[in-house]
Subunit: 402 residues, 2 copies
């Protein structure tokens, strides 16, 4: 008998029929002899309704009260799912974040889990109860409700799996697993049987939003065996686990991210301290930087380019223009451009030379111009025109995978 | 500076405009220098939506899971009201039942409050925070959420007022106070400035549903000064308090209740034990009896009549017919009839003779036949035909009040 943690997102419990479908997956897992802890998000429409209600009353509501409001969403979904399982005649108990022992820091709406007091969960499992736990929520040291921010239910599931030493943490989604590329765009895309945590992390940051990054990081840290699978089709998904246990694929996936703007500043004096000044200004505005490139320009000056999410580009440009007014002598110039980032990820490329050149050749053959290149041990990213993105993904996929 | 507890029902917070209206009442009370604890029910439509969702998934859901589901309703209303108060620039914190310290027994959906741990509330008031508390809910010794059943938010408010020694507990409704009769039916009906707990209790049981009975009983027990007033019109309501502090009115109100059936059993042997046998059978079926009358009939037999709520009449008749089969000799006969109960209530009638005869004269003048009479120290009830009920209330009101 094992312990399986299963996580279902908001769309998986959106209506009564879907709640019943989830109940039958849980029931099957339980009837196979496993202990089961289920983590559920709020029903999709509930979240939207609650946000609309709040906005109507106070668009600048405090985060504490927003957390109080939003966490009612999972309270509804866990009790409904428990009722559906009761209707199947199985023993079940729903638990709110605080009842399941989630203790967090006090960063309302982006709270971090500090620990899980597993006593209650252990007691319920000892009684062979199926536990339905509200994802996305916990309480802080003041006994106030906190929520975890985006993808928080994934994090809840992995944290429980880690704390309870679960045999597996299954993340149910509307796709059948992790693919080598978006299967809606690339017909040759292949579902991966296994993938390493690091590859999964790179894919997530690259715009293939199957799993929340924080949850993958946590799974890696505590060595939780993850499985990404579909709640609609009953078949094995993709296992995410330690690198040593996975045969390294040369390329495990091709991803694109179109929420990218490239910001450039040309003509920065080539003296120490200017890069620091630029990026500290950006940090002060909470702008996350992705790729950074610095190159030597003319006349003892240098050029710096970096990428940001598109919603941050105005802020980034404003920060840079402010910076420019402080530069003695010739004023640098700032420009910004929306681009796409296309990347290949694969733990195997560490030991294979020629991957980069093969990728650039594929792009060249497809007539696509590369604006910027960035590499890590297991990833190569290029910035290109957004209009070229889908063609680029297909060309690269064909070159490496098929 | 005083401490005021204010309770608002589901219709008072039904939409954003009403939530803002409640926020302004609370804000005014706070700005006058008072500490304020507000108890709120779920928004009316939320409760209906949640029940519908549950029914669709499992019409026989456990009470534990129903309590988990339903208590999300107040979680939504307290956070929305807190947001509305935040928008007015005042310090406010919303608290769930368990955060406000409500500890209950484990009778899910009809839980009784065991105690309130007031530590958190006291701390928040010390910081001059307005506290918005979820009514209708608490937790039991397992840390599971419980709800209080019908009128539960009134009980929450009175319990807090009692535990915190509040100066006043204001129950906001859609009427302006307690009237001598239903103002929609009797144009001469007068709003009472004051009324005793006992009169309020009698009026409530008599069908004038302004305040939940349990909450009035609790207010009486702990001597909580209640005020019933309107959330829509800013004027003083009716104060409910101890008899000694109220100038005794001869008649404080005329009430009618049409949810009454009169059940009669004729020809019961006039021997000890038969009344016990009858009423123990009814008690075993959880049938609440209101008025009981016993009279001596013919041939060493007696007749017993009593009233029950109409939804219980079939069960009552069935119980009696079962009983009849056990009676040796002549079998008694059972009959049932829907009636109306019209009552006058007044702490002053204890010391005034002639109230009953004045009431009966008013009914006689209106040509209304009395089927049964029942009296207590502060109440006289008559059973009459339902079709006569409104005329009877007007006639009695005219005779005593105007």
């Amino acid at each position: 008998m094992g312990l399986i943690v299963q996580k279902f997102g908001g769309s998986s419990v959106a209506d009564a029929a879907r709640v019943r479908n989830v109940a039958s997956i849980v029931a099957d897992t339980y009837r196979e002899g496993n202990n089961v802890i289920v983590v559920v998000s709020a029903q999709g429409d509930t979240t939207d309704d609650l946000i609309a209600k709040a906005k109507e009353i106070n668009p600048k509501a405090s985060r504490r009260e927003m957390d109080m409001l939003m966490s009612a969403g999972e309270q509804i979904s866990i009790s409904l799912l428990a009722m559906a399982i009761e209707a199947m005649g199985l023993p079940v108990v729903s638990l709110l974040g605080w009842q399941a022992g989630f203790r967090t820091n006090s960063a309302y709406s982006v709270a971090r889990i500090k620990k899980i007091d597993t006593e209650r969960l252990e007691k319920e499992l000892d009684d062979r109860q199926i536990c339905i736990v509200a994802g996305f929520q916990g309480i802080n040291k003041f006994d106030d409700i906190t929520t975890f921010g985006r993808g928080g239910s994934d994090t809840s599931a992995v944290a429980i799996a880690a704390s309870m030493h679960a045999d597996r943490c299954q993340i149910f989604t509307d796709v059948e697993g992790v693919y080598t590329a978006d299967p809606r765009k690339v017909s040759a895309a292949v579902k991966l049987e296994e993938i390493t945590y690091d590859e999964m992390l790179e894919l997530a940051t690259l715009g293939a939003q199957v799993l929340n990054n924080r949850s993958v990081e946590m799974a890696k840290k505590y060595n939780v065996k993850l499985e990404v699978l579909s709640s609609l089709v009953r078949k094995p998904g993709t296992i995410v686990k330690e690198a040593t246990k996975v045969e390294k694929m040369l390329i495990s996936g091709v991803a694109k991210d179109t929420n990218v703007s490239k910001v450039s500043i040309v003509g920065v004096p080539d003296e120490p301290g200017f890069a620091f000044k630029i990026f500290s200004r950006l940090a002060a505005k909470n702008i996350n930087i992705d790729i950074i490139l610095q190159s030597v320009g003319r006349n003892n000056s240098k050029d710096i380019a970096f990428t940001v999410a598109r919603e941050n580009k105005e802020d980034a440009v404003a920060a840079l223009e402010e910076f420019c007014t402080t530069v003695p002598g010739n004023t640098p110039t700032v420009s910004v451009e929306d681009v796409a980032k296309v990347s290949i990820v694969g733990a195997g490329m560490e030991t294979h030379s020629g991957v980069a050149s093969q990728m650039f050749e594929a792009l060249y053959s497809a007539g696509i111009n590369i604006k910027m290149i960035s590499t890590s041990e297991i990833k190569i990213s290029v910035l290109i025109n957004e209009s070229d993105a889908d063609v680029a993904v297909s060309a690269i996929h064909r070159a490496f995978i098929g």
